[in-house]
């Protein structure tokens, strides 16, 4: 591959990390914000360039590859970067949500802005690294790099219950990460490949698969480990609490991008390396996700009064669709999941951003105290309606394609579970439209009249609009022309050597 593109990929990951380091070394504040802005923009531009350069036919093969010797070759650990059809859209997601979250943070007026930006940059760099890593060790390392700033940000800038939320998030996510780490190490040890390189692991295990019982155990570890990170029911309670407390940019990046680490791990690592284990666990995973995440959490979402918690629960619910797609063990299902991950990442980030913008104006997250904002802030209302419509799967937005594809593949697996999943579409319409109506429509509430009299509200300024437009534009582009990413995903997943191996391949 073109060496300069490989270097661009490295540059994209390095920029935010280096910028964070420079800020930490004591750069004055006014330069820090400028540097941070550059460091948020550069990866997005590189991401778009690599997307344009990416040959869809590359499939599951990694392109833009580079390999940096870390001195640990003896353990098979090297900083090997590259993108394939599945990781490219995720990388792009990280770059775009990172850009939006970063731009929003610059205008957020947070206290200790320098520290805030620095942590956000570390998180951003980590996220970009996760999806560009070909080496499983660095895949995990970058995840931790992104995760730790999240805890700190919740602990320092969080809202209500921030200490409890930070602690709970830390416990859950650390346990989840540890379980999956054990699983990954087990694969490394048992594969006999002597390497953490995903390509070598795939080759080794394709030639000589692990024993079925071993596969079952390792897949179980990965499923629950990654599952906790993605808020698989009933290990989800950290998510609404954490997102409810997290500052907006951290919530955008975590819910939008970092959370997808677990799903991405299942698709890129667990499914292709442990097909028999996956087959054994699939039905259990589907039940947990279908009944737990979609149905139970769907109803719980309806009962929420706090806007941010409601978005948090809705995000847990939508993760259910992702697990269901994975449980289908098919190209269609996994493809739908990748698309849904990207779509959900964009839409949930947009919703968290807008929730904060609403809070700036109403000084509350309590839905029962809001009402009639649309008269004073029509642009904010339009964005919120668009984000809601995206998240409830209206065609024209990316989420629709992800959900549709998951439903189609799920029917082949279990028509009954499909009915449960499709019922979720009605449930999400109920809570989504209810929230939009509570906040924006009808006559102004008493609370809102008081607040707007004391602080006359302005509609969205450009500082809020630009990040929102970036996210909305991405949702619409994928909604109207999904093939910009799906061709690559399809090639990556349906190639015989792809994640779907011969014994659990997809039959029409």
């Amino acid at each position: 591959m073109n060496p300069s593109n490989a270097q661009l990929l490295q540059l994209a990951i390095a920029t935010p990390l280096v910028a964070a380091l420079i800020i930490a070394l004591g750069l004055p504040k006014r330069f820090s914000t400028k540097l941070a802005a550059v460091a948020f923009v550069v990866p997005a531009l590189i991401g778009l360039w690599l997307w344009k350069e990416f040959p869809a036919a590359a499939g599951s093969r990694y392109v833009f590859q580079s390999n940096v010797n870390t001195g640990l070759e003896i353990f098979g650990i090297s900083l090997k970067l590259g993108l394939n059809g599945v990781s490219l859209p995720m990388f792009l997601l990280a770059a775009i949500v990172g850009l939006a979250a970063g731009l929003y943070a610059l205008r957020s007026g947070a206290e200790r802005l320098k520290l805030y930006l620095m942590l956000l940059l570390v998180m951003h760099g980590g996220l970009l690294g996760v999806f560009a890593s070909v080496n499983v060790f660095f895949f995990y390392f970058f995840h931790e790099l992104a995760l730790i700033p999240t805890f700190i940000m919740v602990g320092i800038w969080g809202g209500r219950d921030r200490n409890y939320a930070a602690m709970k998030m830390t416990i859950y996510l650390t346990i989840g990460a540890m379980l999956s780490l054990i699983g990954l190490i087990a694969i490394y040890v048992k594969s006999g490949a002597g390497s953490f390189d995903l390509v070598s692991l795939r080759e080794a295990l394709a030639a000589d698969p692990l024993r079925v019982s071993l596969q079952k155990n390792i897949f179980g570890l990965l499923m629950f480990g990654f599952g906790i990170l993605v808020s698989l029911w009933p290990f989800h309670t950290w998510a609404p609490l954490g997102y409810g407390a997290a500052p907006s940019s951290a919530a955008m990046l975590h819910a939008g991008v970092l959370k997808k680490f677990g799903l991405y791990g299942l698709i890129q690592i667990a499914l292709p390396l442990l097909p028999a284990g996956a087959a054994w666990w699939a039905w259990k995973l589907a039940l947990l996700a279908g009944i737990g995440n979609v149905l139970v959490i769907g109803f719980i979402t309806m009962a929420q009064r706090d806007l941010k918690q409601m978005i948090g629960y809705s995000s847990v619910m939508h993760m259910g669709y992702c697990f269901l797609g994975i449980a289908c063990l098919s190209t269609v299902g996994a493809g739908g999941v990748v698309l849904l991950m990207v779509a959900h990442g964009l839409s949930v980030a947009l919703l968290f951003l807008l929730a904060t913008s609403i809070h700036h104006r109403t000084h509350t997250f309590d839905l029962s105290e809001m009402g009639g904002l649309a008269q004073k802030t029509p642009v904010l209302a339009a964005f919120f309606v668009a984000a809601t419509m995206a998240s409830i799967g209206l065609p024209g937005f990316a989420n629709f394609w992800g959900e549709l594809t998951v439903f189609v593949s799920l029917w082949h697996y279990s028509p009954k579970l499909t009915a449960v999943a499709v019922a979720g579409v009605v449930i999400s319409a109920i809570y989504g439209l209810r929230a939009a109506a509570r906040v924006f429509f009808g006559p102004p509430s008493e609370h809102w009249q008081k607040v707007s009299a004391a602080h006359p509200p302005a509609d969205m300024g450009w500082g809020e609009r630009i990040p929102a437009i970036i996210l909305l534009a991405a949702l619409l582009i994928l909604g109207f022309y999904p093939r910009t990413v799906t061709d690559g995903i399809d090639h990556a997943l349906s190639r015989p050597a792809g994640p779907v191996t011969a014994n659990v391949s997809f039959h029409h």
């Binding site: 416990i171 309806m302 739908g336 024209g396 189609v408 029917w411 009605v426 799906t486």
Partner: protein, 610 residues
């Protein structure tokens, strides 16, 4: 231009108009309204070109998405059925755009309104042109969104906000079945392309019934009819366009599209649901005071007629599509006319909608009166007008095929002429019963010209010279009575019309109170109860069952998951936390530097420096 290019333009122009209005014309209401209306005009011209060029079934399909063996494509199926529907949507749509120029002239959010109309036209045309079920579903959902947007136009009113939400959610309940039906159809037949499905498909009762769920939502058939009366919260042109002439008819159109998949058991269900909806809604219409609500229930009833006709005709003799589409077309003309007429009345009476506060408008609004009267005569089946032919076709079909359905539909026809004449008399005859009606004035040209054109179509639309030209081979499917049957059905129709109209004319006085309520409290109460029972039932379900269930689950979640289990774990971790606190002194910088130091150490370890 090639037909496929024309079709593409027809589909994309309204989208371009909506995008343009949303991006740059939000503050320029006048310009936005002209952009939207000019687009509708061009779309109508292109549609007429396409329809009368004779081009049919030209190949057009593009792949939209592919995962493995699963593909979704975007394509056109342009046959005579689509051509007829295209005419109805584009032409009636255009007239309603023109009417809105006048009706919405003083509205502060005019740009949003016209942007909404454009996005609606885009979505509706997508359904009409679609060549496969996935594509129909996509535009189907978009139609639901535009309907939400436009019902919610007066969003500062709680009732409008509630009505739009209800419409969207009830439609989604229908779409639950619709989507499952499409997915099931995909796996059973290996395709969702309409042409391929017509050629070969497996026998299934579940698939057509699931697909029918979608039609129940969009076309507001029982028990999903509850959203349509509430949808009258939207501006009156929206009620005419979306909730009378086109969108609610999309369910009927979709049924005609999938006629080949139908099986007798499913058709029997469809027939009875349509029949029951027809009579139920007609009964409800009798006790309405709001001019738009009368028309809304009347629309429900007529949609029931179409659904019943589809079921009835398709079971035995293949006349279902013809009868349903014939009535759909004439109904689009006269119901759009009646709704726009009511809009003219409402504007003339300074936004008074209560028919008992009107009266005597015949002299004050002569053009509206004449056109509205033609609309009323068309819907009650006056011989020679459009509604007479299409309703006769359905009654004839019922008489031949199913006596029970025939009896119910004939009774519905009596009710139809009863409530229509009641409304007509109370609005236009007698003396003015309120100041607003006393000072009523005729509307401007942009509103009356569409009324005149629609009135002309309501008169002429039933003749084969007009309908046959538009519908092509669909017109050949319309059932026609011959010989003695012809005389019988003509006599039945006339009797039905005169009984209903005559009794309403002599029963209702020009008074500020409902004569029925005065003379027979029991009957009035029963009908009111009938109308409200569904809303009560649903309200009870939403507030008492669904919301309580959600609260209960939330409570359990907070107690068991967030509370007990995690505090248990938390207790253990609390201990660990004490240890950790020794390291984290509470200073933020310490916290951050520990983290950075850790990262550096790890890297150093990784690169072999340590």
């Amino acid at each position: 231009m090639l037909p496929v290019q024309i079709a593409t333009l027809i589909l994309l122009l309204p989208l371009a108009s909506a995008v343009m209005i949303a991006l740059s014309l939000r503050q320029q209401g006048a310009l936005a309204s002209w952009v939207s209306t000019a687009t509708a005009a061009v779309v109508t011209i292109l549609s007429l070109t396409l329809i009368f060029s004779g081009a049919r079934d030209f190949p057009a399909s593009w792949e939209w998405l592919r995962f493995g063996t699963f593909t979704v494509s975007l394509g056109f199926k342009f046959d005579d059925l689509a051509a007829l529907m295209l005419f109805v949507v584009s032409f009636v749509g255009f007239l309603i755009h023109v009417f809105s120029l006048g009706y919405m002239h003083d509205d502060a959010a005019r740009a949003r309104f016209f942007g909404g109309l454009s996005i609606f036209m885009f979505s509706m045309l997508g359904i009409v042109l679609a060549d496969n079920l996935f594509m129909i579903f996509i535009f189907w959902e978009l139609v639901g969104f535009s309907s939400w947007l436009l019902i919610n136009h007066y969003h500062e009113k709680q009732s409008a906000a509630d009505a739009s939400k209800k419409a969207f959610i009830v439609n989604r309940v229908g779409d639950f079945g619709f989507l499952l039906g499409i997915v099931m159809c995909y796996w059973s037949n290996g395709t969702v392309n309409l042409t391929e499905l017509a050629d070969h498909h497996v026998f299934s009762t579940a698939i057509p019934l699931l697909l029918f769920c979608g039609a129940m939502g969009k076309s507001a058939q029982m028990p999903l009819q509850v959203w349509l009366p509430d949808a009258m919260e939207g501006p009156t042109p929206v009620s005419a366009l979306i909730h009378a002439a086109t969108m609610v008819a999309a369910g009927i159109f979709m049924l005609c599209r999938i006629e080949s998949l139908m099986v007798p058991q499913a058709l029997t269900v469809i027939m009875w649901i349509g029949t029951i909806t027809a009579v139920y809604a007609a009964l409800c219409a009798i006790v309405q005071r709001d001019i738009k609500k009368v028309l809304a229930y009347s629309t429900l009833s007529q949609l029931g007629y179409m659904v019943a006709a589809f079921g009835l005709g398709s079971i035995t003799n293949g006349h279902g599509v013809g009868a349903a589409m014939f009535h759909l077309t004439t109904h689009a003309f006269f119901k759009a006319l009646l709704f726009l007429g009511s809009g003219s009345v409402i504007l003339g009476c300074h936004h008074e909608q209560d028919i008992f506060k009107m009266g005597g408008l015949a002299k004050k609004m002569p053009l509206t009166f004449v056109t509205f009267t033609l609309g009323v005569l068309a819907i009650i089946g006056m011989p020679g007008l459009a509604g007479f032919f299409s309703k006769d076709a359905i009654l004839y079909l019922a008489m031949e095929e199913n006596t029970a359905v025939f009896a119910v539909l004939a009774f519905t026809a009596v009710l139809t002429s009863f409530y229509m004449v009641r409304m007509w008399k109370l609005v236009f005859l007698g003396a003015s019963r309120s100041d607003s009606a006393g000072h009523a004035h005729e509307s401007g040209l942009s509103m009356t010209v569409p009324l005149v054109i629609l009135a002309a179509l309501s008169v002429a639309g039933g003749y084969s010279g007009v309908f046959g030209k538009l519908a092509g081979s669909v017109a050949e499917l319309v059932p026609e009575a011959h010989g003695p049957a012809h005389v019988t059905i003509l006599l039945v129709s006339l009797a039905v019309m005169f009984v209903g109209a005559g009794s309403a004319f002599f029963f209702y006085k020009s008074a500020a109170t409902d004569s029925l309520e005065e003379k027979s409290r029991a009957a009035f109460g029963a009908l009111t109860w009938l109308k409200e029972s569904f809303d009560r039932l649903y309200d009870y379900y939403v507030a008492k069952v669904q919301q309580r269930f959600a609260m209960l689950l939330n409570f359990l979640e907070q107690i068991f998951l967030a509370g007990l289990i995690v505090r248990g774990l938390g207790g253990f971790v609390g201990l660990v936390g004490y240890g950790a606190r020794a390291l984290f002194t509470g200073s933020l910088h310490t916290y951050v530097y520990w983290f950075l130091l850790g990262t550096v150490l790890l890297w150093a370890f990784a690169t072999g420096f340590l």
